[in-house]
């Protein structure tokens, strides 16, 4: 067999040059970042929106809950980790809408037709979105003194780690949802149906301890609960949290891997139907 192959002249094949996973992922990541800072409105949004969300929502909730077990200032500090997660969630959703745009514009076609591992496509896109989401979340940490918290370097480090993990899991989840879709409207419908409840039931706006049985069970299986809780661990060691930091980080990392694997599987499928 081998000799027969050797006797025929080869085609005008180029030397094998599949891009490495990291080269491909990195270049797609870079594209996301460059696209971001070319659009000035988005850059302004990154800085301005965290403050606005926290102030307006937090004040509003605090007034509604006044007279209850939590006072105004206490509620603002309870809501702080939840606000960070919300900011991250919005940015993650927003950046994955660009996937639908890429698909409709044809950019995705040219990526899918390139000799790169499908995991590189997922990784580049998700890391790009996660980077932007994480930057917003970390910017928000600047406001911790407003709720009377002056975190130590370790606390900041753990917070940043938690924010990065939450950004990644939410962006990857957004990717898996956005991939089969061709309209932003359909994506929004799913976001309202799935992602917003995910946030509401993560302990972001009310603690699981005060919830009724079935709600508490839902909050326990919600993977986002552990991310929010990890942030609370780091920033407010005094507040009672549902789980220990190691459990929270462990579950969050596991969920990151799970949604990434799910996205990869979806993208890796080659079928008898058009790929992009």
């Amino acid at each position: 067999m081998a000799t027969m192959v050797a006797t025929t002249s080869p085609p005008r094949a180029l030397p094998s040059r599949n891009a490495s996973l990291w080269t491909a992922a990195l270049t797609l990541w870079e594209r996301e970042i460059v696209r971001f800072y070319r659009q000035k409105a988005r850059v302004i949004g990154v800085i301005a929106s965290p403050l606005l969300f926290w102030f307006v929502l937090g004040s509003g909730f605090a007034h509604s809950f006044r007279g209850g077990a939590t006072g105004s200032d206490q509620y603002l500090s309870y809501f702080f980790p939840g606000a960070v997660v919300m900011i991250v969630l919005f940015t993650a959703i927003f950046s994955m809408m660009s996937l639908i745009q890429d698909r409709n514009e044809g950019f995705l076609l040219s990526v899918m037709a390139a000799p790169v591992s499908r995991s590189a496509i997922v990784l580049g896109k998700v890391l790009g979105g996660a980077t932007l989401a994480a930057i917003q979340g970390v910017v928000f940490l600047v406001f911790t003194p407003l709720v009377g918290v002056h975190p130590s370097l370790t606390a900041i480090g753990i917070s940043v780690l938690a924010i990065v993990l939450i950004s990644f899991e939410l962006t990857a989840l957004g990717f898996a949802i956005a991939w089969p879709m061709d309209s932003p409207q359909a994506f929004h419908a799913i976001v309202n149906l799935l992602l917003l409840p995910l946030w509401m039931l993560s302990g972001a706006i009310f603690p699981a301890s005060g919830a009724t049985g079935w709600l508490r069970a839902l909050m326990r299986v919600n993977p986002l609960t552990y991310g929010t809780d990890a942030l609370r661990n780091a920033l407010f060691p005094a507040q009672t949290t549902g789980f220990s930091l190691s459990v929270n980080l462990g579950v969050t990392i596991a969920f990151c891997l799970l949604v990434f694997a799910a996205s990869w599987t979806i993208v890796d499928r080659r079928t008898n139907k058009p790929a992009a």
Binding site: T8, P11, L14, T23, R38, L109, A114, R270, T271, P274
Partner: protein
């Protein structure tokens, strides 16, 4: 132990057919129950500009998707430079450059950035990539626009950047889907000049899908598709010369009188004309003389006459029995290349 795939590849590598850059063997595709490609078997030769001509719905786009590795066929096989598009997608992807019909450029990025990302996806880096970017941009005449964002370029220039993007990794086969869409005649001419240059200077095999007759005329060889079937294959001049003589059209006042005229011509001259609406069409040597005979024989029935050298549309009609275009569009497309 060689796997089934390796065996197939080895067998193919002993076959002269392997030298053909694109080989289709019984390629078939279904979307659910609908048959989109029906056992296509043909080959594209090295360094030729090969056209896939067909009306909308003929299966061109389906074939393009399969060749660009974005979809796997439901039956048969397609090989590019000896690699199976369904089983060895990444080997095929290294060989092909693709220019999609839709814009694949990122308009927020510069021309250079678009090419850089594309290069990275194909494993090009550093100095090699930089040189290659300069080469392809020089080729399409846009080196001076390397730092401009794509949204500031005209449609024709964007299409040239698309071409440069498709060529960045020096593919041996270039696939273009309806490349003239949205281009003015000047830009269209330029595009074809680039394609010929690629073929002649670098030996690139070019496959172009099109629904435009005049564009198909530029191709070295053509495959004409209709409803997923191959209806004709060959050089445009060859295909046209298979039609005997001139194409003669008689316009009648109504469909009924066209049918009557057709019957009378058939009876008198022992030919078999086809009726399409108000028009009676037939192929005939010495068309001019024949027209005079018919008009003299049936004075009241003929409203208008045209005699033309056969065009690709006539090839299509002869093979399929119907026109290329639907009623709405046929006004502009028919008849091609009218003489006299």
């Amino acid at each position: 132990m060689a796997s089934a795939t390796e065996k197939t590849t080895a067998v193919l590598k002993n076959n002269p057919a392997w030298m053909e850059p694109i080989t289709l063997d019984g390629l078939t595709h279904h979307y659910g129950d609908r048959l989109a490609l029906d056992h296509l078997t043909f080959q594209v030769r090295p360094a030729e500009i090969f056209g896939l001509l067909g009306p909308n719905g003929s299966g061109k786009t389906t074939l393009f998707r399969i060749l660009s590795t974005l979809m796997i066929p439901t039956g048969g096989s397609a090989l590019i430079q000896g690699f199976d598009v369904a089983r060895e997608p990444n080997r095929v992807r290294q060989q092909i450059g693709i220019v999609f019909q839709a814009r694949s450029l990122d308009i927020k990025l510069t021309v250079g950035e678009n090419l850089k990302h594309q290069g990275h996806l194909y494993g090009l880096k550093g100095g090699t990539l930089k040189r290659r970017m300069e080469e392809v941009l020089t080729r399409v005449g846009l080196l001076d626009r390397i730092k401009d964002t794509v949204e500031t370029l005209s449609g024709g220039m964007q299409r040239r950047v698309e071409l440069a993007k498709g060529l960045i990794h020096s593919p041996s086969v270039l696939l273009l889907d309806e490349p003239s869409t949205g281009l003015d005649p000047g830009a269209r001419r330029d595009l074809w000049q680039y394609l010929r240059m690629l073929r002649d200077d670098e030996g690139v095999t070019v496959l172009v899908t099109t629904h435009l007759m005049e564009e198909a005329e530029h191709c070295d060889r053509l495959a004409i598709l209709n409803q997923g079937k191959l209806v004709a294959l060959g050089a445009p001049s060859e295909l046209k010369s298979e039609i005997g003589g001139d194409v003669v059209l008689f316009e009648a006042a109504s469909e009924a009188s066209a049918a009557e005229l057709s019957a009378k011509i058939a009876n008198r001259f022992i030919v078999s004309p086809t009726v399409m609406g108000n028009t009676v069409r037939l192929e005939r040597e010495q068309g001019h003389k024949f027209v005079t005979d018919v008009v003299e024989a049936f004075p009241g029935l003929v409203e208008g006459v045209s005699v033309a050298r056969p065009g690709l549309e006539d090839v299509f009609i002869q093979r399929t029995g119907h026109r290329f275009w639907t009623e709405k569009t046929e006004q502009q497309a028919w008849p091609p290349q009218k003489e006299q």
